[in-house]
Amino acid sequence: MFGFFSSNLITVVDGIAFGVLLFTIALGLSLVFGVMDVLSLAHGSLYLIGSYIAVSVSTAFTPTLGFFVLALVLAVALGSLAGAGLSFLTRPLASRGHLDQALLTLGVAFVVGDLLAQQYGREVRTVAPPSPFDGSVSVFGSTYPTYRLVIIAVGLALAIAAYLVIERTKMGALVQATVADAQMVRALGVNTGRLMTGVFAVGAALAAFGGVLGAPILNAAPGLDNRVLILGLVVVVIGGLGSVAGAFVGALVIGQVQTLGVSLAPSYAAFLTFGAMALVLLLRPAGILGKGRLA
């Protein structure tokens, strides 16, 4: 038993790195769904925009920490703008149900994907990790890239921050109340329009932030937007739509499924992610931490 753990410990660590990266995408997706009832299929595009910002910054400058932070700041700024834009685009469809929003946001995703491919080409683009973290360290006796430890640290900090904002601030309470019962919040005289735009902007900024953060390990290429989107959807569905803690738990679960799971059952690797999602949905249809809002 101990042998099993020691030989897989590094894989578990890597699963956490991957999981917290997924969390940056899933959190926005989940909040936007919870607050606005919008399943935004353009969320993967926001991630990819972030990755390409990292590409632009790292080709223009040397990959120092300062410029990496600059890329993060740019991504957050552009991401929030894009999110606010998406919120205006989807607003007129509020009464028309998920499928119309899916059609719209998928249309936006196609357009953005094409424009990015025109701008950056269809070849894979790589981003070097910021220079202080460009090497490897020894973790549990294995060589491990330092940058992935940075991802874990940043991702966990982000998760704690998100938790505090949602649980401890007035804004967070409003968001939670809107997830639970949007009509009630509106009836209380709250400007839900501003709240929704804000949540969409924050969610989009998070995805773009994740795009920069993930670029040094996942690169940037056309099609990555789709894969990230699908993983994000799997995470939020597993965790429970509209819940911060759910997105976090779901992200960690999928992170482990994609690393530890793959390592333990490589022949079934292709089935694992969707198998896990189907299993969770069948056992707990509202997700691991969902509150039973099924419809």
Binding site: H98, L99, L104, G107, F110, V234, M277, L294
Partner: protein
């Protein structure tokens, strides 16, 4: 524009069908004439245009049958599936394998594919129809992705990622020659697709269709009225799977090739978008939606130097804003007649 929306505040039912019993005979007659004229025009296609249009139309018709069967689920039954490519692909594989191993007789392949689509849907539907809304969407997506992966891995049967190749041309009657000409193939596809549309419309108008719509609009109420909502939804799921399987066999007739991509997310998403573009619950709208999607993707997109997805994306955005209720919203205005609320 008159509305048949009623005053419901629920969000997921924007396009309410008007195919219920309240519609009078008088309103139906011109529509039947229109449908008959359209059918005649479609039959005449191979006489008028070259074979490439017949092939394109065959693809459109097969995809349209898939879209209409999905509309039975989404529009009539309120079950938004993002995995309808699964029974479609299962049908396509079974039709292809039947053609290769058993017989070139198309009706046999058709029945085998429809049965396979139904059996597959029954196996997974038993669990899937218990969840609703977005969770239904995601669970169907997961099942379809698992099915696609299985098709990818099971290469002794499916040919794996290289696909199932060497499917012979179909025969329609025993001892008849293989249908190599696009025009004849098209007539077969048209006949089966028309039969399929007719059956789906009949199902949607039957007592069963009415209870399905009732469940879509208010499941709890229907349950309290004593309906087994599970049984009705499950039956609809299996029926939609059977028609999707039949559509898969038509797809194979035309392309004579099946690959795991036929069960993939793209096919599911395009079918769902065809339904939304057409206007949910208006079964004929899905046909137009399917035609538009296939035409843009295969015909225009292939000549745009890789900008096909851009055009598709712009089309989706435009449809959402300009046709809020899909093509079905573009009804000929008939003065003096109000739709029942």
């Amino acid at each position: 524009m008159t509305s048949d929306l009623g005053t419901s505040s629920r969000t997921d039912q924007a396009a309410r069908p008007d195919t219920g019993p309240a519609r009078g005979r008088a309103g139906r007659a011109p529509r039947l004439v229109l449908a008959a004229a359209l059918l005649l025009a479609l039959v005449a296609v191979p006489f008028v245009v070259p074979s490439d249009a017949a092939n394109l139309l065959s693809r459109i018709l097969a995809f349209a049958l898939l879209a209409v069967s999905l509309d039975l689920l989404v529009g009539v039954g309120g079950m938004p599936s993002l995995g309808h490519a699964a029974p479609f692909g299962v049908g396509a594989y079974v039709a292809g394998i039947t053609a290769k191993e058993l017989t070139a007789l198309a009706p046999v392949q058709l029945v085998a594919a429809a049965v396979a689509g139904a059996v597959f849907s029954a196996l997974v539907g038993w669990l899937i129809v218990r969840v609703r809304g977005t969770y239904f969407l995601m669970l169907t997506l997961a099942v379809a992705e698992l099915a696609r992966t299985a098709a990818d891995q099971w290469d002794q049967v499916t040919g794996g990622s290289n696909g199932l190749v060497g499917i012979p041309a179909i025969q329609v009657v025993p001892g008849g020659g293989p249908l190599l000409l696009a025009g004849f193939r098209y007539w077969y596809v048209l006949a089966v697709a028309a039969l399929g549309f007719g059956l789906i419309v009949a199902i949607s108008r039957s007592a069963f269709g009415r209870s399905l719509r009732g469940i879509r609009d208010n499941e709890d109420r229907m349950a309290s009225l004593g309906y087994s909502t599970f049984r009705v939804k499950f039956t609809a799921f299996v029926l939609a799977g059977a028609f999707a399987g039949a559509a898969g066999s038509l797809w194979t007739v035309q392309s004579r090739f099946v690959s795991p991509a036929d069960l993939g997310f793209n096919v599911s998403a395009m079918a769902l978008l065809a339904v939304v573009i057409g206007g949910r619950g208006r079964l004929w709208g899905a046909i137009l939606g399917a035609a538009l999607v296939i035409f843009i993707r295969d015909e225009v997109g292939a000549q745009l130097g890789g900008r096909g997805p851009l055009l598709l994306g712009i089309t989706f955005i435009a449809v959402v804003y300009l046709l809020p209720r899909g093509f079905a919203g573009l009804r000929l205005h008939r003065p003096g007649r109000k739709d029942p609320a």
